[in-house]
Symmetry: C2
Subunit: 304 residues, 2 copies
């Protein structure tokens, strides 16, 4: 049986059996002395997650951001970064420097620090980043309670549209198209939500695989039903333009597009802060599964 036959989640289940551990969450929480440490790792592989023609700075920026997003989604602050880089021997040194400039900028922005790393050769470029964070109160995915509302930060679906535009590999793009591509290339983890999540969220995580896929994770872990109202989904004006131009349905992008690196979280309605870009898009109740406008929805991004 091949890896592609069982898929990412099938493989994770088999591994969990071997390890006798539960590691379904993107971000592990361990205790150290009187505090909690968050641990996460995420990788960017050439030709899988990025192409050689993308600016190397964006690859470095994104490698940090996707990890910070995991920690932020758990109500943690990013602290220490390890960078494991695999590069082909004939790669230009300036490319590697570009990746690290992106890493350095991202670390400065998020307030974390590269403390170590590793360098190896290989055929394809791999940027594997491990991040250690800490939190006075990691939130996790298990605490959603019936009666909570489901909120999402920012807008959804832009990164997926940006990816499609990037793959068109055109010479000229309109301004709104460049902005969408930027959303894919240089996502910003929602570090500005950490305090709010720590204080008010009953469950939270970042949206990396797509809203429906990740809401399903929250629902499973918390043992609750989540109803999403598609009319409430925050969709950017740029994504609407994109969908009009190319004849697409923005809801498809908002529900199933991955890599937005926004956060979703559940909390009582009373904790809605109108000064932040959070939108209530759903409601938690007893039961199981994720429903969009009353219809059960699963799936999302598959890694194999």
């Amino acid at each position: 049986m091949k890896v592609s036959d069982v898929g990412e989640f099938g493989l994770i289940e088999r591994i969990a059996e071997i390890l006798g551990e539960d590691f379904g969450d993107d971000c592990a929480v361990v205790e150290h002395l009187e505090g909690k440490i968050l641990l996460t790792v995420d990788v960017l592989v050439e030709d899988v997650h990025f192409l050689r023609r993308y600016p190397p700075e964006t690859v470095g920026w994104k490698a940090i951001s996707v990890n910070v997003s995991d920690v932020v989604g758990n109500g943690g602050h990013p602290r220490w970064v390890l960078v494991s880089l695999i590069v082909p021997p004939d790669l230009d040194v300036s490319y590697v420097e570009g990746v690290y400039r992106g890493i350095a900028k991202a670390c400065e922005f998020y307030g974390c620090k590269v403390v170590g790393g590793n360098m190896s050769r290989g055929e394809k470029i791999v940027v594997d980043v491990s991040l250690v964070g800490d939190s006075v109160k990691p939130v996790g995915r298990r605490g959603a309670r019936p009666g909570d509302l489901l909120f999402v930060s920012g807008t959804l679906g832009d990164a997926r549209a940006g990816l499609e535009l990037l793959l068109m590999n055109r010479k000229d793009y309109e301004d709104f198209e460049l902005r969408l591509m930027e959303k894919h290339l240089r996502p910003t983890a929602r570090i500005d939500y950490v305090r709010h999540i720590q204080k008010y969220a009953t469950a939270s995580m970042d949206v990396s695989d797509g809203l429906v896929a990740d809401a399903n994770h929250l629902s499973e872990r918390s043992g609750v039903r989540i109803d999403i109202d598609s009319s409430k989904l925050p969709i950017s004006e740029d994504l609407r333009k994109f969908c009009r131009k190319y004849g697409r349905d923005p809801l498809d992008y908002a529900l199933f597009g991955g890599e937005d690196y926004q956060v979703i979280f559940t909390q009582p309605e009373t904790r809605w802060n109108p000064f932040m870009d959070m939108t209530p898009i759903g409601r938690v109740s007893e039961g199981s599964g994720v429903y969009v406008d009353g219809e059960r929805k699963e799936g999302g991004h598959r890694h194999f």
Copy 2:
């Protein structure tokens, strides 16, 4: 300019400039609350560090061991492991399970725990392990003092001989050859030295790049001269047999062979513990550089 032109250390220097950080050591030490945390990452890449035909259990075992070795070399205990795995979609699931069985066995042996990970597809298998350890007293490479002796645990050069035997890819091997190959495939990090290193070593590190290369790291970091007496080098009976059979010089293997994952450390002669397999092989004095029998030696393993 290509990556292969500047080499691993040239690349690290350029990166350190961009990050404005010092990260020459394999193992980073950071402060968390009242304690110290050790962070390290090391990767095994198919066709660079291992071949597909090696037993997958040994790949998993080794991926953990090389990281534990970094932490042990710093006087720390391994605690939490993140495993980032890249696998081709057509890889057999049983291979992945084998890798994880090796990882699980190693973690049980060393007393650490896989708390998270990541899975991605790619053309070649990559096992990238990040390890978080802790230590009441990280030792580092900076404290070697004139008058200290240089000690090494175990024997040196076996892993290199084992690698050469593996690459012969024969059907039949003699028993001592199988033992040497096992040393390459399934190295054991010297977790049994952690307490001694914490208590008595003035500087320490693991031997991964080869004795001369790693002694040079110690010498540079501590700002001292190290004299190694080649007649004292601990060489196994198996390596002697190998060298007689193939007409090689065991000193070459002991001085320059990598991947033994023993520890070298400096300490006062009075701290020599004859019940452990430590051998005094050299002496620290004022000055700089590593000398073997009075002759300056540099270099060792290069990653590009």
